[in-house]
Symmetry: C2
Subunit: 258 residues, 2 copies
């Protein structure tokens, strides 16, 4: 049965979408079946695979609004990654964005039913969330088994971890008692910057073994993903970013087997 | 009379707070009176000056909720920048965050009255917004004369500019007809990455003269601001990031005089 993991952080630009896309791809390359679900109305996840809201292709909003069957919005996204599927949000405008948030709020049971139906077909289901903790992210935390928090190796991002943790614990206390920590992931570690070393040390002191051992370096090849519309391992297996996400996938699978 | 400028982008981590803090500081160093207002419940702006929500010091939420006088929440933040004032959001928890959004929604006239009272005392009032366009950002766009959109020199950020522009135009059409474009600012341009050159070219083709000529480079000295709790020009006037924000301030003042 698939584990449902919400990728969350109130801080913007810390690598939530990059992690969902690249970790998902690496896990699927190591024979796990992975589904990525986009609930960020910015549609960053879909855009990383060439699926844009302007396309006529349906997305999650069509499932929630019109009851479209889930398998009509599941896209197989890369020929060399047959075990990686994506459900884009495909929200097209400000009005649809507000409607989408309301649908996740008022029709939460619909969203949770769809996710539960999909669980048996996947080993991991990652939900890519926008940089906020209210709706739509709240719906992801309500339906998830656990949450993954990327922490950019910079002071600004480190300062917001407490807020994200408190917010997730509040959802756990009031709405989803099973919600556990999947892990904290240090991202965009810039070897040239002295402060990255300070941030890594302080985050490990504060969060201890809940922080993955693997650190994702800042690597321009990762930033090409939205342009190449494919995960980094499909165009560069050797770059530092790809190696790190592969190592992270192995670390996660290693921990799971035990 | 002060110009009120909302610093907005739905994309997270593109340099909204860094621009409000460092551009504000540079303008105040060139003899302009500048006020920075934080409405991001993450309190990133306040944290850049050592004002944390955990402090007992009041913030904007106290003005909106309890009618505290605005001058009780204005902080003079740096001895060498006497013309730079800050009003932090100082929102302390998830519940206060929801309350803050509601206050800006239901008591919008209160917020707009406070901003109007402050206008005569400043040349520029920058409102630092969270990475979203609904409340609280919507209130900033409703009260602002114009808006500044930082665009990180990466594909993911470029892909969201259309959405931010559409959202702002919708507020202009329905709620604030005077809302104009202050400008688009290219940030975190990484000289090493080939894609930065592509992004700069494409953004200039698409937005033309609405893009500032000045480009802010990626500079680790800028990322130290939340740790040093002061704008970059107070600790390094010569680094590429400080020079770029000084140049941007001159470009803005040059354009204004004409
Ligand atoms: N390891 C990395 N090295 C270099 N660039 C990266 C890395 N990870 C992500 N990026 C780039 O940094 C930017 C922010 O990453 P991303 O969009 O994944 O963050 P996010 O947390 O999803 O942002 P948002 O809060 O807007 O949803 C993007 O341009 C992305 O391509
Ligand atoms: N020119 C720059 N060079 C290097 N780092 C920068 C630059 N500008 C901002 N940063 C750093 O990048 C990160 C994101 O910047 P910042 O927090 O200002 O963005 P934001 O748009 O306000 O984010 P959010 O969407 O979370 O509000 C921070 O760690 C900041 O210190
Ligand atoms: Mg994202
Ligand atoms: Mg910010």
């Amino acid at each position: 049965m698939g584990e449902v993991i919400a990728v969350v952080s109130q801080k913007g630009g810390v690598g939530k979408t990059a992690t969902a896309v690249n970790l998902g791809a690496c896990l699927s390359a190591i024979k796990r079946r992975v589904l990525l679900v986009g609930i960020d109305p910015q549609c960053g996840l879909g855009k990383c695979f060439g699926i844009s809201p302007g396309d006529t292709r349906p997305g999650l909003i069509d499932v929630l609004r019109d009851g479209a069957p889930a398998d009509e919005v599941i896209y197989r996204v890369h020929p060399r990654l047959p075990r990686l599927d994506v459900i884009p949000a495909n929200v097209d405008s400000m009005t649809e964005e507000a409607e989408f948030r309301n649908l996740l709020d008022e029709e939460f049971t619909n969203f949770s039913r769809v996710i539960d139906q999909l669980r048996p077909s996947y080993d991991f289901i990652f939900i890519d969330c926008p940089p906020r903790l209210d709706m739509p992210t709240k719906a992801a935390l309500m339906v998830a088994d656990s949450y993954l928090v990327p922490i950019q190796c910079e002071f600004a991002s480190m300062a917001t971890v407490g807020g994200t943790l408190r917010g997730a614990l509040e959802v756990k206390r009031r709405l989803n008692p099973k919600l556990a920590i999947f892990g904290f992931l240090l991202t965009m570690a810039d070897r040239r910057a002295r402060f990255a070393i300070t941030v890594v040390r302080e985050v490990r002191q504060y969060l201890k073994e809940r922080v993955f051992r693997t650190i994702i370096p800042r690597d321009p090849r990762i930033a090409e993903v939205p342009h190449r519309q494919a995960p980094v391992i499909t165009y560069d297996l050797e770059c530092p970013g790809a190696r790190a996400y592969i190592q992270l996938a192995r670390e996660i699978l290693g921990a799971r087997i035990l």
